[in-house]
Every structure is written in C-alpha cells, then in structure tokens.
Amino acid sequence: MTAWQGDIRRIDDYRWEIPQDYKSGMRVAGLVYADRAMLDMIREEQALEQVANVAFLPGIVGHSLAMPDIHWGYGFPIGGVAATRVNDGVISPGGVGYDINCGVRLLRTNLNEDDIRPKIRELVNHLFNNIPSGLGSEGKIRISEKEMDEVLTAGAGWVVKKGYGNSHDLDVTEEQGCIKMANPDKVSARAKKRGAPQLGTLGSGNHFLEVQAVREIYDKTAAAAMGIMHEGQVLMLIHTGSRGLGHQVCDDYLRIMGEAVRKYGISLPDRQLACAPVESGEGRDYLEAMACAANFAWANRLCIAHWVRESFCKVLGRRVDEIGLEQVYDVAHNIAKIEDHIVDGKRLRLCVHRKGATRAFPAGHEGVPGKYLAVGQPVLIPGDMGRRSFIAVGTENAMQETFGSTCHGAGRLQSRGAARRGMRGTDVAGDLAAKGIYVRTNSLESLAEEASYAYKDVNSVVEIAQGAGILRKIAMAVPLGVIKG
C-alpha cells in the first residue's frame, strides 16, 4: 500500500485541513478529524486523496469531511461526509455506496450479564439458526412483487403492519424507518429480483449480530433515557443493510450517472464519484430508488429484531416484556439525506452524503424522537468483535461543523488479505473464546478478515470525535456473543 504524501495542515489537536489548492478542481478544502497518531495511520493509505477527490463535486459546501474512522474506500472514503446544495449541486451514488442504508439497530434488555453468561452458547446458537446469515441466505418471509413494492414504499412500517414489530420501534428509528420520497417504479426489476428472497437476512462480510454487556456509563441521565440503567446490563446490536437490492440499485444508477456526467459536462477525478444534479431527472430518480433501498434496509433490520426477540424468549423461557427487549435506536451509516443546515449564516437545503458516517443531531432538533429530545439523537458506534462498542449522542457542534454527522465505527486498519495472513479463522474464534466471547460464523475466512487487529481501536476514534465535539459518549459495551454473517 502506498502512503499518502499530500499536503495537510494542523488546525488543532483534532482537526487537519487539506487545503483547497492541494489539487486543481477542488471546490472546498478537506477537513479531517484525527489526532496526530490517528493521522499517521490514515496517511498509510490513499483515503486522504479520496477526501480531496470528493471536494470536486459540484455544489459541495463547507468542507469535504473525514471522520476519525476514515479509511480507503472506492470513490468516497469510508468515513466521508459531503453536503451539496440541492438547487445547483449533485448527488453521487458512490457517496452512499453499494450497501445503501447499511446501519445499526440497538435493543436493550432487563437482563444482567450473569443471566446470560451461562446460556450464551445456547442463545448465540439459537440466534444463528433463527436468523438467516451468510452468502445465499434467504429470508423466512416470502413476499410477492406487490408486497415488495409495499416494503420499498413503507419501509419498517410494513413490518409493523405484518406484526413483526411495534410502533415504538418506528418512533426510535431514523426517519421512522421510512423515507417518504421512495418510488418503487425507479427500482429495476433486477434489483427487486435480487432482493426479494433476502428480506430478514443478515448477509455476510462485516455484518453481524452481537450480544453485549454494558461496561461503563458516562452520562446516567442520557443513558436512562435510552433504558440503559446499569453496568452489566445486556444489549443486542444488529448490523446489516439493504442486501442485494441495495447493491443492484447502486450498480444500476452508477451506470446512469456515468452517462449523466458526460451529459452535464461534470469533471471528476474518479469515475466512482459519478453524479448528476440533485434536481435533474437522473438525480431525482436515484434519490427515489435509494429511498426504496433504505426502506428495505429498515424493514430488514426490524425483521431481524423480531427474530432476536423470539430467540431470547425461547432460550430464556420468558415473555418479551419480561426480558424488556425494547429498541434504543436504529441509525443509517450509508445514506444521502435532504436536510436543512445553516452554512455561513444562511439556511440551505442540502443533500448530505454520509458514506460510513452516522447522523448525529443534537438535543432539541426536530429530527430527534420525542423521548430523546432533551439528550440528543442516539449514535451507535460498533467496534470490532473483540473489543467494545459505544453509544453516544449528537451535538450542536456536529450540527455546525459536520452537517450533524459523526463517526460510524472503528475503521479498518489492515486489508482483508493482511488480516487473513495474520491469523486463521479458527484461531480468531479461539482467541475470542479465551476472552469469554462466543462466536458463530458461516465463513472462517470472513472471520479471519474481520479479526480485532484488522481494525483501529474504536476507543481512539470515539475519543477524537468527542474531543472535537462531534459527539458526546454515553455508554460503552463489550461483546459476549457474536454472529458473523
């Protein structure tokens, strides 16, 4: 891997700027959230060149932003945020990625670590058998073509209507689990065919289910608002996205955007940044199709949450209300949203691309559910499977600096190849077992690629984000059991 040798300047302990004149064609400067040690890691690869490339997008405002978990992606860096003006800017499917609305859903329980430890193998095995995962996994819900269009239109609401969730689940989901501009006519038959068998499936790669125990609480009031009351409390984290449907929507529209770039005479340094004006036919079509894929993902995570609840009840022999498996929040980390933000004192309608970044709205914002209005929108930041995850909230500072965005995870440190060369999948499982973490997987190869040491320590990522004021951490949890797709 080639180290990045470009121009970057220190602003303060947590902020670095790639000047606008670093590359001819950049419309704004790059702003990277990192401390010195993290920046040294980031410079080992080409992610910062991608931050500079994103700055070419027509209509981009503020900065081309990089969260502290940034790493080398394709087109956009993973951990990149870019806001473009709706009236004369562009939308780029590469700024969302193939896994549209990949995201995380967190459930809390009334259980204590001691209740679960003796049954963790049984619980993880039950979850593994009850929730389809891995390549080729097919969901237990069969949907007709008409129902597929309903899912794409109504998102998680469709799942609630079918009896697999409740209205509280919707209240505490970003966008209530449905972007209203969704139009199934803009999703190809190929995408629908690819996604149809996959509603209610985890998938593979870095997708996972994790049974966790709260290890530290930093803000008791905010944690209590989320139903997180004490250390040792058991949580359940679900990480997946829109599966093959989203992948196909992205691929379909990248082809369309490739042609749009020529049609509108847009100059870009990387074809993967292909884009079209937000208000063009191509731009609107993509937004409506992307909304469908996002809705599919929210429906998918809610189906999985239903089977998580079912599995806990079965293994523990208790009712769901006794176990208290209530949803804390569900947040997307690969998405583009139309939002209003203040830029240079002016209120602007923007298209905010979050590619491996989480929305982080502050207390009092109209996009925050009523029960969190006083504390801010929950932000869920999974770490690697051997260490820890964080629950945080959005801040006013994030609103001012990052269009209400923050980090989304640990961020990869090693390539998949390097991770695989470091340890075999069986050894990774053994290593986790020695730490008291029981893991089940469909692919030992994937397990090796997802090993702890392949990721940055999420602790450093969150400390930088908190130091820069773009989140406030509320609690930290550690894994007890993991299912890797």
């Binding site: 896994d99 790669g205 990387d270």
Partner: protein, 132 residues
C-alpha cells in the same frame, strides 16, 4: 491481487480485450469461490452494450455476479467477443448452491474506482476494486 483496506482488488491482463475480460472474470471468481469448484456444463450467452470499454468491463463482471446471486449459476468458461463497446460472450458453468462452503465470500459489486483499461506494448491491463 491488490491489498485494499476495506475491499479487494485485482489486476487483470490480456493480450487483447476479450482475453482481458475473460481473465478479469476468472480473477473475480478466484476471490469468490474455490478454484476447483466449477465445471462447464450449462451454456449461457451474455450480450452487453456500454458507453465505453471500462463501463463494459464493470457491467460484464457485475452481470456474472447477478447471474450467480439470482440463479446460483457460476459461469467459469468464457468465449468473449468485443466489437466497439458491444460484448457477446458464450459462457459455460454449473449450478452451485450459494450456501456451499466452496464460496469464500460475498462480492457486492465490481466498482469503477480509478478504473482504466491501459494498453502498453500490445498488452491490456485493468485494475479493478471490488466492494466486499
């Protein structure tokens, strides 16, 4: 194979464009499934058209992925013809259960990231990054 932090890439080479396209497909398959896992038995013809040859290459690879994911048909033998930006490929392969342990990982898509088909001293090459 290229070491990429989040994903995986390959460099494919060929004496002409059809060989490059066949080799790129073989390279992608080597990331997806064990080498010995597929035999040519089922025939399939693929026809594609694109605005340029780079787009055609990505479309070709993603078409093969689409057939794998929607039909469980792994095409592994290719006879590719390319005329301008049109492709006709006579392919052969076999059905493989997607749940089979022969599959190493899921590839979401071939991407356009920094994609360029280069031609030097009569050899074509392309660097392709896949989203994993």
């Amino acid at each position: 194979m290229i070491d990429h932090t989040a994903d995986i890439g390959i460099i494919a080479r060929g004496s002409d464009l059809p060989v490059l396209f066949s080799n790129a497909a073989a390279g992608m398959l080597s990331l997806l499934i064990e080498d010995h896992a597929t035999q040519p038995g089922i025939a399939r013809e693929i026809k594609l058209e694109a605005v340029d040859r780079e787009t055609l290459l990505v479309q070709w690879l993603n078409e093969l992925l689409y057939i794998i994911y929607t039909e469980s048909l792994v095409l592994s033998k290719f006879d590719v013809l390319i005329d301008a930006n049109h492709l006709v490929a006579r392919c052969a392969g076999q059905y493989v259960d997607l749940k089979s342990p022969l599959f190493k990982r899921e590839i979401k898509a071939a991407t356009y990231h920094n994609l360029e088909i280069a031609e030097r001293d009569g050899e074509y090459s392309a660097r392709i990054i896949f989203d994993i």
